[in-house]
């Protein structure tokens, strides 16, 4: 028996259509995949350096009047009787931050963070060192006194004017306060609103239907309002009218809470709608009130869907930066905020600030901070997908 391959029997035009459409579709998906791959590769390539830090080992022989002059003196000792210009070059090999963070009281060997220019030279990004600095650094590398280690400052530090010690901890704490409070505020209201819309159609008639239609348009419109408009809302109402102070996490939290509220409402409504009617009927039939039915039967059944939607809302809020810039959370935060009433910034805003910085050493910090943010968001999204798969109830 001869097998019939329909695809090879197609003539001219039909065959061309078949081939071209298949290739076009495959091509489109490949382009999307390639774009995203370049995106991640470029970010990874640029950011990976920020996870290591260049450090200099110095030999302190004499204690001077201040830590600064002690460090400077031991830097001068690297060459034999340096002139003024050489001294200046040598001084600039360590981060200016070392003067205030390290306490040197007795002679010995100390490890200091290298200046960003040295850091970039060692990592091979760019070379801004002068001749004296370059020979000194090369010598020190040979002696094993300049080396790269894991960059703890990137994880534990806050923003700084010196890229070599700038870190994301301050921004991470700010993100935690802002997003935590935002969800604390948006979750109950969002679920309450969804429940009211789905479970309590008390009144029949035109007025109620109109109210429902209005709510429907209202929620869907709120979900699609550009995020920057929420920033202006926060600025005009919270800061200008209510007189809250700028830059604090609380204002950011309320703004972001308003922003994610419609997302939570929509996902909660979808989750409530998937709960079949017979559950409600059975509960009502046993004599439960409508509220008892809702609280003991419908909401628990819909909870996995609601939680999934909330996690996606959290991910959305974490990535949001435009409204926070509007309410002044672009402050230069040197110390991590300790309460939600302190000036704070969040990770995406920190990325925005670093990306704008003229200091070239911040370029790799920016990419690294983006990598951290992306890993956090992808984890959250995957968690949501997993939750949906794991706890989804098939009715």
């Amino acid at each position: 028996m001869q097998s019939i391959d329909l695809n090879n029997r197609l003539e001219g035009r039909r065959r061309r259509l078949q081939k071209s459409m298949e290739y076009a579709c495959k091509g489109a998906l490949t382009i999307t995949a390639l774009m995203m791959l370049t995106f991640f590769l470029v970010l990874g390539y640029r950011g990976i350096g920020a996870f290591t830090q260049t450090q200099i080992e110095i030999n302190v022989t004499s204690i001077e009047s201040s830590t600064k002059s002690t460090i400077n003196q031991s830097m001068y000792n690297l060459t034999e009787d340096p002139d003024r210009k050489t001294k200046k070059s040598l001084r600039q090999l360590v981060t200016p931050n070392a003067y205030s963070t390290i306490d040197i009281t007795e002679p010995g060997t100390y490890t200091l963070v290298a200046h960003t220019d040295v850091d970039m030279y060692v990592k091979g990004v760019y070379n801004k060192l002068d001749e004296v600095q370059q020979t000194t650094v090369d010598n020190l590398i040979e002696q094993g006194k300049i080396y790269r280690t894991w960059n703890w400052d990137f994880w534990t530090g806050s923003d700084s004017r010196s890229p070599e010690i700038a870190g994301i901890w301050g921004a991470a704490v700010g993100t935690f306060y802002t997003i935590g409070l935002a969800i604390l505020f948006a979750f109950p209201i969002g679920v309450g609103c969804a429940t009211y819309m789905e479970e309590f159609p008390q009144r029949k008639g035109k007025g109620w239907k109109r109210y429902r239609d209005f709510m429907e348009i209202n929620i869907n419109n709120l979900a699609a309002v550009p995020s920057i408009v929420y920033g202006l809302l926060g600025l005009a109402v919270l800061i200008n009218v209510l007189g809250m102070s700028r830059s604090i996490s609380l204002v950011g939290a309320i703004t972001l809470g308003i922003l994610v509220l419609p997302v939570i409402v929509i996902s909660a409504r979808t989750a409530l709608r998937t709960v079949p009617q017979h559950i409600r009927d059975a509960s009502n039939g046993l004599g439960a009130s409508r509220l008892q039915t809702t609280i003991y039967q419908v909401l628990p059944a819909a909870l996995p869907g609601i939680i999934t939607g909330t996690i996606i809302a959290i991910a959305r809020a974490i990535g949001e930066s435009a409204p926070l810039i509007m309410i002044g959370m672009v402050a230069f935060i040197l110390v991590a905020p300790s309460t939600p009433m302190d000036p704070a910034t969040t990770l995406p805003v920190q990325i925005f600030l670093w990306a704008d910085s003229p200091e070239r050493g911040f370029a790799e910090k920016t990419s690294a901070a983006i990598l951290v943010l992306l890993v956090a968001l992808v984890t959250l999204n995957l968690l949501a997908i997993w939750l949906r798969k794991r706890f989804e109830i098939k009715w």
């Binding site: 039909r14 489109a28 819309m197 509220l291």
Partner: protein, 315 residues
């Protein structure tokens, strides 16, 4: 002990009313938010229009909000022409749609019509994850990677490319909305009843003919709605253009030059401290209100079309 039982009898008492009241108030809060947005934006906008003629705002072609320090010097009032800003916004949105439209549509056709369910289960979540990437990341990519790269390429080709060209912002914004378009389109295509698909295949149409002649026409209203949603999203997008598009208001159709957008100007006007009585600050609210109205109309049209399309397909 006797309890009166009747239709008015409540099964539980006081607490029930409190919780119900909470639900009701929650739903009022969402309405209050909409009103707060409209009220606060329109209040500042009206204040702005007492300082600047609405005609100047909507029809002037110059945008230079910088007010001089001395009241009597030249250009002390600033010029608030809205045209170049909305042009820049539309232009970047157009470039983005040029990229995202075809790619998003074709990938949606592929995920919904070609992939096996098991493969679909992997690809769909991946696209969802892509849709969750923060826009500041795309902005960084446009400003730090693509912008300089396009500029260097322009130099080798002998073209004059601005570092903050409309092209870089448009391309990256296109990347951002591909997942949005493809996920909406995919949903619409999936809503096309399989009876239509089977009927077409049954009378001898190939898969591609079935897609071209049956599925796409049936899904078209929904796809158009998805495109409109994507356009609304691109118009309101802020971080990409703040980081990658320029500040100077140019009326140009050359994608290699810098243009500015409505959202860029809002951010530029409001960053830092501001006093709420100058036309410069208030103009940001006028811009935001216009933006709000535009996106509201677009979304309303899209949402109605989308719902009608899905309902019609499901019947």
């Amino acid at each position: 002990m006797f309890i009166w039982i009747g239709p008015k009898q409540k099964s539980s008492g006081f607490n029930e009313d409190i919780i119900k009241g909470f639900f009701r108030i929650s739903s009022w809060i969402t309405i209050a938010i909409t009103f707060a947005i409209v009220a606060s934006l329109s209040y500042e906008t009206i204040k702005f229009f007492t300082l600047v003629e609405p005609r100047d705002f909507f029809f002037n072609t110059t945008w230079s909000p910088q007010t001089a320090f001395r009241a009597d010097s030249v250009g002390s009032s600033g010029e608030f022409g809205f045209i170049p800003l909305i042009w820049g916004t539309m232009f970047i949105t157009f470039l983005a749609m040029l990229i995202a439209g075809p790619i998003g549509l074709l990938s949606a056709i592929y995920t919904s019509e070609y992939l096996k369910p098991s493969q679909r289960q992997i690809v769909k979540p991946l696209l969802e994850v892509l849709a969750g990437i923060p826009t500041v990341v795309y902005g960084f990519f446009a400003a730090i990677v693509l912008g300089p790269w396009l500029r260097n390429m322009g130099v080798t080709l002998g073209l004059d490319v601005a570092t903050e060209s409309a092209l870089a912002a448009g391309v990256v914004m296109g990347m951002m909305i591909i997942p949005l378009i493809s996920s909406i389109t995919d949903d619409v295509i999936k809503a096309v009843p399989s009876a239509m698909r089977d009927g077409a295949r049954g009378i001898g149409a190939t898969r591609e003919e079935c897609i071209k002649d049956i599925i796409l026409p049936a899904a078209l209203p929904g796809i158009v709605a998805g495109f409109i949603m994507a356009i609304a999203r691109a118009i309101g997008e802020t971080m990409i253009v703040v980081m990658a598009a320029g500040l100077a208001a140019n009326l140009t159709a050359n994608p290699l030059e810098a243009v500015t957008t409505v959202t860029v100007q809002i951010v530029t006007l409001l960053i830092g401290d501001q006093e709420f009585d100058s036309a410069k600050t208030l103009s940001a609210f006028a811009l935001a209100f216009t933006l709000f109205v535009i996106t509201f109309i677009l979304n309303w049209i899209a949402y109605r079309n989308y719902k009608n399309a899905i309902n019609r397909l499901k019947q």
